[in-house]
Symmetry: C2
Subunit: 223 residues, 2 copies
DNA sequence: GATTGGATCAGTGGATACAAAAAGCCAGAG
DNA sequence: CTCTGGCTTTTTGTATCCACTGATCCAATC
């Protein structure tokens, strides 16, 4: 089983679930533009079901923050303003900081090696220039979440990752490869290796907050 | 307009919204027991609509963590295990810590007096023995969230408050009034008055994490 | 030429209808 | 008395249908 933070690999047991996963994937891959309208009819026939399960999927996607639902106006793809993007990263910084702090007790030499491997894979994906890097990056962060053994925290973080994923992809495509990323992720591992939970939390917070400004230029300017 | 963290006072523009608010209120007031099944048919006729909007409301409530939806098995009221309750409080501690830290720049003498007033109202509500205290308490925390000027953060915190609200109510009914609460809330205000954002964040974290064990006995034991 | 008013139409919200799944029930076997 | 297997009932999941809202477009007016 993958340690990805993503829920890409699941298969649906109901039509609603299928619609949810289908639309979520499309949104995360950036197939729809922010502000674009999602017409239930179209999506329904695309997947081969009626509008109803699609409408229900919209509710969940709206709760996740991936779309916006306005009464009698339908469903539009959520776009983040710069302010909103920063806000997400502020939330990520404290939540993932918490996750890494709580992960500390489960850290042993095996885990550290696993994280090293994930870092290495992320590095290779980055060199290949493909946006796999985004997936590998989520895998790395997801692994640490998983170690925290906090299901709700992990879910919350995964949801935030889904929201910023399109921006991560655009960013990656533009700037080739995040330069500071390797050192910062290595620093997280180093902090975990040192056994200092508080230090690890701070390093994670620093890493995440440092990433925000790099992505900000791809968000829509704040009003 | 109330500064309550709650969304009690809203009125619905669609049937789905009405169903959502109706069920949410009932859950927060503890009218349904954890594990209890919510039958769409019943709720629909109770509010005077068909099952459909109720089903959609269920999706949102499930995203909020207030109910659990299992395919072909319907909707049951979510109950928190002790572990889950602690997890919520861990998340609250860092999120509300963040909120109070970010609120600092908006703090002036007027705001401090407003917070003092809210503390006073909470105190009075506590003496009257009514579970109004819970609402006042949310008002206090909600005010600080609002000052952070972070809509998504505020919404997230409000959602967590909704999930723990039934436990807060039970707790209050049992132990009369939280003894340490007044001093801890006063300490938060004092930290805000001092202008030390980092201190305020720590005091808030301490306050929230300290509350968790008091509520834990009302959650279902972890497996 | 810009603005407004209304006709038209696409799309949404909600109700009803129907099929499929799960839960309850009962009788018979062990 | 308990367990099992199949029938019945209840409830869920999905599709279809209808009324109404909001958007669009065109023409008449200023």
């Amino acid at each position: 089983m993958s340690s990805s933070i993503a829920s890409f690999g699941k298969h649906a047991s109901t039509a609603e679930e299928e619609a949810y996963l289908h639309i979520q994937r499309a949104l995360r891959l950036g197939r729809y533009k922010p502000g674009e309208r999602l017409i239930p009819e179209d999506i329904a026939s695309e997947i081969g079901m009626s509008r109803m399960p699609v409408r229900e999927a919209f509710r969940r996607l709206a709760s996740d923050g991936l779309v916006v639902l306005r009464p009698n106006r339908g469903c539009i793809v959520a776009g983040l303003t710069v302010d909103e993007l920063y806000e997400i990263f502020e939330m990520r910084s404290v939540l993932e900081g918490l996750a890494v702090r709580l992960a500390m007790p489960r850290i042993d030499e095996d885990e550290l090696e696993e994280l090293d491997r994930l870092l290495e894979r992320m590095e290779r994906a980055g060199k290949s220039g493909s946006s796999d890097w985004v997936v590998r990056h989520q895998e790395f962060h997801g692994r640490i979440c998983a170690l925290s053994q906090r299901p709700k925290l992990t879910h919350q973080i995964a949801t935030l990752h889904a929201v910023i994923e399109p921006y991560m992809r655009i960013w990656f495509d533009y700037v080739e490869k995040p330069l500071s990323a390797r050192e910062e992720h290595a620093a997280v591992i180093a902090a975990l290796r040192s056994g200092d939970a508080h230090k690890a939390e701070q390093v994670m917070q620093y890493h995440i907050l440092g990433t925000a400004p790099l992505l900000a230029e791809f968000a829509t300017p704040s009003r």
